[in-house]
């Protein structure tokens, strides 16, 4: 049968780069938080060196994620309504509560780490890990529960988001540690073996993510007509470059080769490069899922173009990029300041609470505690 659309109202995209970077940031946050708990909860003492970096990064990235959400809502002054009128069926409503809980308990967890209180850090860590992973599973549900969106509506979505969150969180931590080692060599050294073992963890999660991607795509290919067309958007449509080349090749295969090759995998440069590529690939994955899902129209013919003219994204592309770069800049500055001033803040908090700050090890929190 031949159909041709004579007239229809075009419905454009609603979520652009800002919402694309929301799960990207929360994913990085959840991943680096989980890594920071390795030393305290899972008793892997050799990871203790990086857990302070990791938990500060998790908190800063969470703040960045919340800023993207706030910037994307059109009435940000009414955000308190989420607490006044919670909706138990809405995943967005759950997100506000889980994110608030995550922020609170990660702050407490960071406080215990910096005061050197291993026992309470372990308890807080055990409470925090499910919350941190819950944040990201919830983000997956926000997209996965829309039954009108063919590409999003799959039970794999929370799992896929969770695994890519861990992948990208680990990768970003490697990038940060490698940069710190390269450009600030006078600071405390991190044992290279630790970075390499985190690299092995990265290999594991990359392979797992590959497996989930293959499961998702294969199921879609064998599904109903709409699902088949939706997945062909990734394989041969306008997003095929972003999917095949950036997400799969640059963000997956090349890092895997670099990490697993004995020559390149055992150098700082190789580890850093592979991890940076993984972070880029994860951003491409978020873009492919979120923007790609909206490119499948609900009632029109063809595909919805990724433009800011039709429909409602709220900002122009330039405005979105400027907002996003502002948020990223805030994150970098906040992270550097946090690394510098957190020990002082912790002693200040200790003073307020009334603890004796002198006998704790808060004065030199970045020392290798062995």
């Amino acid at each position: 049968m031949v159909f041709q659309e004579v007239y229809n109202v075009q419905h454009g995209l609603i979520w652009g780069l800002l919402i694309t970077s929301f799960p990207f940031f929360t994913g990085l946050s959840a991943g680096s938080f989980t890594l920071s708990t390795l030393a305290y909860v899972f008793d892997k003492k050799e990871y203790k060196v990086i857990s302070k970096n990791a938990v500060l990064m998790a908190i800063v990235l969470l703040l960045m994620a919340n800023m993207t959400l706030l910037a994307d809502t059109t009435q940000p002054t009414r955000i308190y309504n989420t607490f006044l009128y919670p909706n138990i069926a809405s995943m967005f409503s759950w997100a506000t509560f889980i994110i608030s809980a995550y922020l609170l308990c990660s702050l407490i967890y960071a406080y215990y780490i910096f005061t050197g209180n291993d026992k309470f850090a372990k308890i807080m860590g055990i409470i925090c890990i499910p919350v941190a992973l819950g944040v990201h599973a919830d983000t997956g549900f926000v997209f996965g529960l829309n039954k009108g969106m063919v590409l999003w509506h799959t039970a794999l979505m929370p799992v896929l988001f969770l695994v890519s969150a861990l992948t990208s969180g680990i990768a970003l931590l490697i990038v940060v540690v490698v940069i710190k080692e390269k450009f600030f060599p006078d600071e405390k050294k991190v044992d290279p073996e630790i970075i390499y073992s985190i690299g092995n963890l990265l290999i594991f999660f990359l392979v797992l993510e590959f497996f989930l991607d293959i499961v998702d795509i294969t199921t879609m290919l064998y599904s109903a007509a709409e699902e088949y067309e939706a997945i062909m958007l990734w394989l041969s449509g306008p997003l095929s470059f972003s999917f095949i080349w950036i997400q799969i090749v640059i963000g997956g295969i090349i890092p895997l080769l670099i990490l697993s090759h004995p020559k390149t995998g055992r150098t700082y440069f190789g580890q850093g490069l592979a991890a940076a590529l993984v972070v880029i690939g994860t951003f491409a994955m978020r873009f492919n899922v979120i923007v790609g899902g909206q490119m499948i129209p609900k009632s029109e013919a063809g595909l919805v173009p990724y433009t800011h003219e039709i429909g409602y994204i709220g900002y122009t592309l330039i405005e979105e990029i400027m907002l996003l770069s502002g948020i990223i800049l805030f994150g970098i500055v906040a992270y550097i300041l946090a690394l510098k001033y957190t020990p002082k803040i912790v002693t200040l908090v200790d003073g307020i609470i009334g603890k004796n700050a002198n006998d704790s090890s808060t004065e030199v929190p970045f020392e290798l505690e062995e």
Partner: protein
């Protein structure tokens, strides 16, 4: 908040519907619409009447007519499909709203509370029918000197402000062939009930289980959802 501003807000019908008495509607009624496509000529009068009645801003439509050509010459026909919010009985948009700004009244009409919506756009993503959009226009009956903009999600309201006062929705009133019929499904003698019971009716994307309350007569199901366009 000054008294003048409060008065102005209370006059607007959007905020009015956030008050408890309007959140319920009449419990014994169930509003529905039947669109008889044998009568529809595709004149777009409903789209225009809706825009005028509800002050829908440029680029956006609460109600529109989808036109699809099917077949090749000489066996070709244009199909019209007037579209509006389906006023589902199990609305995904109400489930998705994090602040309960989208709500369902007992008479079956789903509305948006413009005073509470924070513009997260979750409902627009959740709606499988493309019925929702972001309304960046001013409040209805706005004071031209102090224009306040909604910047919230918006959708077809079955003209609830008219229906509550005993009038028909603007699109039904403007339909020159009386293709659109509006009424109470619970009343067995209403024209809507008779049409639903006497004729085979179709629903858009019935398989999603949203239980729409907009019924079509003589609609081609292959053009109701996403159009699988093939260039000739």
């Amino acid at each position: 908040m000054g008294k003048k501003k409060l008065d102005r807000i209370n006059e607007n019908w959007g905020p009015k519907y956030s008050r408890p008495e309007f959140r319920h509607g009449e419990p014994d009624k169930k509003y529905a619409m039947v669109i008889d496509l044998r009568k529809c000529v595709g004149c777009h009068a409903c789209s225009i009447a809706c825009k005028q009645e509800n002050e829908v801003p440029l680029k956006h439509y609460r109600s529109w007519v989808k036109k699809i050509e099917k077949g090749t010459y000489p066996n070709v026909k244009t199909f019209n499909l007037p579209r509006l919010c389906n006023q589902c009985d199990r609305p995904p948009c109400v489930l998705a709203c994090p602040v309960r700004a989208s709500f369902k009244r007992e008479d079956g009409i789903t509305l948006v509370d413009f005073n509470r919506c924070m513009g997260c756009k979750a409902c627009i993503a959740a709606c499988p029918y493309n019925a929702r959009f972001m309304n960046e226009g001013p409040y209805t009956n706005h004071d031209p000197e102090h224009t306040e903009y909604k910047d919230t999600a918006d959708k077809c309201s079955f003209c609830a402000h008219r229906v509550d006062n005993g009038a028909l929705p603007a699109c039904v009133l403007s339909c020159m062939t009386k293709a659109r019929v509006f009424g109470d499904m619970n009343d067995p003698n209403s024209e809507v009930s008779k049409l639903i019971h006497l004729y085979p009716t179709q629903l858009i994307k019935a398989g999603l289980g949203t239980e729409p309350k907009v019924f079509y007569i003589d609609a081609d199901t292959s053009i109701m959802g996403r159009v699988q366009e093939e260039k000739r």
